[in-house]
């Protein structure tokens, strides 16, 4: 048996996990803690004009949360209080950063273009305005009542036109928005008085994002915008269209710091309780598996270090803060991790009972249980991937930590448990006490 490779794997994962943990501790990197554990910063958004209904504010709440999540702020707590929208941000420490993250509001309007960069007079009596273009220059535009609400929420996407090879933005029209869009398109396509340039400007907070020329008077439910976009330009345009449906302009009214709701006490309680539980579990495992339990203790230490490293790296990189639910989720994952050992060791005992030696039984027992562990863990991984991909809020955070613990379990099982057991078994260390023990009554059960 290739002992050298087993040693490489064993030493490799131990050195790697210790090294990464040491690196994190040396750099003073720890996982970002969630709102309930650490608090954060809260931005209170107020509507600029009066008259926002509860329905409008509800839409704004959902839009703000979507926007925050797509910009990488995970698990913000967004709710409507009175006529304000309160945005609590976890893991954000300074106020300027909080403000810039929450400046997601903005009204998108659609305005027919009179002409661009030609020094046209602005006829204010007709409500015309001169607005800057994002790419430089200015355009004179006519007024219109159409806003970003004509687009279906979150329907915009970036594609490549297969013929021209250019970046294009596709967006769907909402049921109510389609006639509005089409009447504007009709006017522009025919070069009516308010739209002699045949261009329709997409305006965000007074800046023209894009002014595409209308190619057809009638759009059947969806719109394709093409032009000499770079990929980034196409993506930012699609973001604008996606967020476009703010029914009211919101502005940050004030910033507050928020204390933790669960607080340090809860985190301490969870950690202490988790450690006690872990210690009890380990004691039971030691009583039950005796010498083999060395592998469980070692494996769980490596697993814990891997989780800490992954949680730190992921929460720093993506702002997925560790909330109380996440912390307890990790405690629960201890159970599933211990299960990989239990399945393996029960199989080993089974084979030894059939008269095999440990050295003989270990490789085949591992092969059989590795299959079981992979099947069961793949199901957990599917759960975490689907939930992470498709859900929002704390469900997404849960999925992330479920995925991390499952990956750690697989890594430790293959790179630590396997070589550790095979090496211990191959030199006969596990054999003799085991056989003697099998005539004494053992077994701690629940």
């Amino acid at each position: 048996m290739k002992r050298s490779r087993l040693w490489t794997s064993l030493i490799g994962i131990v050195v790697l996990s210790v090294g990464l943990l040491g690196l994190n501790l040396a750099l003073d990197n720890t996982p970002i803690l969630g709102l309930d554990l650490k608090g954060g910063i809260s931005v209170i958004l107020a509507p600029v004009e009066d008259g926002a209904t509860a329905g409008d504010l509800g839409i704004i709440r959902d839009l703000v949360r979507d926007q925050l999540e797509s910009s990488g702020i995970a698990e913000p707590d967004v709710r409507v209080e009175g006529t304000n929208v309160v945005v609590d941000l976890p893991g954000v420490n300074d106020q300027a950063e909080a403000l810039s993250k929450v400046s997601v509001s903005g009204i998108v309007t659609l305005q027919p273009v009179i002409g661009c960069n030609v020094g046209l007079p602005v006829d204010a009596s007709l409500g015309q305005q001169e607005l800057p273009l994002l790419s430089g220059g200015t355009c004179v535009v006519s007024p219109s009542t159409a806003t970003g609400e004509v687009f279906e929420r979150k329907s915009a996407g970036v594609n490549i036109n297969s013929q021209s090879g250019q970046w294009i933005v596709d967006v769907d029209l909402s049921a109510v928005g389609e006639p509005q869009w089409n009447s504007l398109a009709q006017a522009c396509f025919s070069g009516a008085a308010n739209c002699p340039s045949r261009q329709l400007a997409i305006v965000l907070d007074g800046v023209i994002q894009s002014a595409p020329t209308v190619q057809t008077p009638d759009f059947g439910g969806s719109v394709q915008i093409s032009g000499a976009f770079t990929e980034d330009e196409a993506r930012s345009l699609s973001d604008v269209l996606n967020r476009g449906a703010f029914p009211f302009q919101m502005e940050p009214q004030r910033i507050e710091s928020v204390s933790a709701t669960a607080g340090q006490d809860s985190l301490n309680a969870a950690v202490i309780a988790g450690l006690i539980g872990l210690a009890l579990t380990l004691l039971a495992m030691i009583a039950y598996y005796r010498k083999l339990s060395i592998v469980i203790v070692g494996g769980l230490i490596v697993w814990g270090m891997t989780i800490f490293t992954l949680a730190t790296v992921v929460s720093q990189a993506t702002n997925y803060a560790l909330s109380l639910a996440g912390a307890t989720g990790i405690i629960v994952a201890v159970g599933m991790t211990v299960d990989s050992y239990v399945v393996f060791f029960e199989r080993l005992r089974d084979e030894v009972r059939h008269g095999r030696t440990m050295a003989n039984a270990a490789p085949s027992a591992f092969t059989a249980t590795w299959r079981t562990t992979v099947s069961a863990d793949v199901v957990s991984l599917i759960a975490s991937l689907v939930l992470f991909w498709l859900s929002v809020g704390s469900v997404k955070g849960f999925a992330l930590y479920l995925g991390l613990t499952t990956i750690s379990d697989l890594l430790v099982c293959y790179f630590f448990t396997r070589p550790a057991v095979l090496l211990l078994a191959s030199n006969g260390f596990l054999d003799r006490p085991w056989r003697q023990k099998s005539t004494t009554v053992i077994g701690a059960t629940s």
Binding site: I272, T372, V395, T445
Partner: protein, 399 residues
Amino acid sequence: MSNLAERGLTGAPAVAGQVVRPTAIGRLSEGQTAVDFVGRRRISMWVSIVLLVLTMLSLFTRGLNLGIDFEGGVSWDVPAAAFDENDAITVLSDNGISTEGSRIQRRASESGEFIKVQVETQTDEVTEALRIEFANVAGVAHDEVNVNLVSSSWGSEITEKAVRALVIFMLVVGLFISIRFEWRMALSSIAAMIHDVIIAVGLYSMLQFIVTPATVIAFLTILGYSLYDTIVVFDRIRENETRFAAQKPPYDDVINVSVNQVVMRSLTTSFSSVVPVVSLLVVGAGILGATTLSEFALALLIGMLIGVYSSIFVASPLLAVLKHHDSNWKSRNIPRAVGEPLREMVMGGAMGSRRRRVVAAQAEDTDAPAEPAAAPVDGSTQVSAALSHPPRPRKKRRR
């Protein structure tokens, strides 16, 4: 646990070269149990039906007690100069408002610090009365305490997305299990998973615990745990299917043998998963006083226990029922092995000849009920008894 392996204690003291333990726990730890799980599926079926009916009744009559994250509520902003979180809790409990599920935050801005107290929706009178009381305790004028209605932060959108994600998850997992195992196993394991989550949710409804986002996470954890546990049991069934295929046993035997073989693993695993959660419940919530943890831990504890129960008592019998209609396993009309023949299969990992099995089953039928439990024999007798049987070949080819 001691009654788990009580049946089939009679007969040979040694099977397949191993000594059969005299005590139930001993047999359990050595993988020598011979419980007819499939034959007792009616018991577990009725248990599950009763639980599900209770759950449904409770959900329809009492519903769930949703927290402020789902239903919104009312909040008071009390200046924090002479007022702190504990004062808020005192005022709330003096007025008979449960502080469970409330949210009390200290907030600071340029205009000063204040305590935001948020609870479930109250009547206008209560809201106003509390405003006055908060102001009195804090020593400020009444209008310095701001009252606001608060919307839910967990909008319907989050729920919709989570439900859609769950449906897609079940489809993908169903497909995965169908490919890796077979569709009947996919169906049984997903059914058992839904069974577990429904019962866990029902418990929340029956006990009227407050549902918070953390509770939803606990339910999701239960879901994952249940599926995980079932997969481990099914993997063993799958393995034994191929091992036993040539001997053409009834499928019930495969299930009984497999479940008996993994029962110790299931107990050990649930023990090791439950201990940290119990510790969370007792040490964290009870002694250190972090009440937020208590219900979360309780939901997890119950869910885990149901998860382990369902993979043995729901998913496996369900698989047996589905398999009765599988043409590959149909019409194997010998009776299901119980008692010693079953133990022999569990311990030996192989089936005896069909003829011997039928004879043994008949013998079991005639003498099993009358025979008293065998007295424990001393070690030396057992060893000699073990040697009277031909030893199993050492290196048996697997699969």
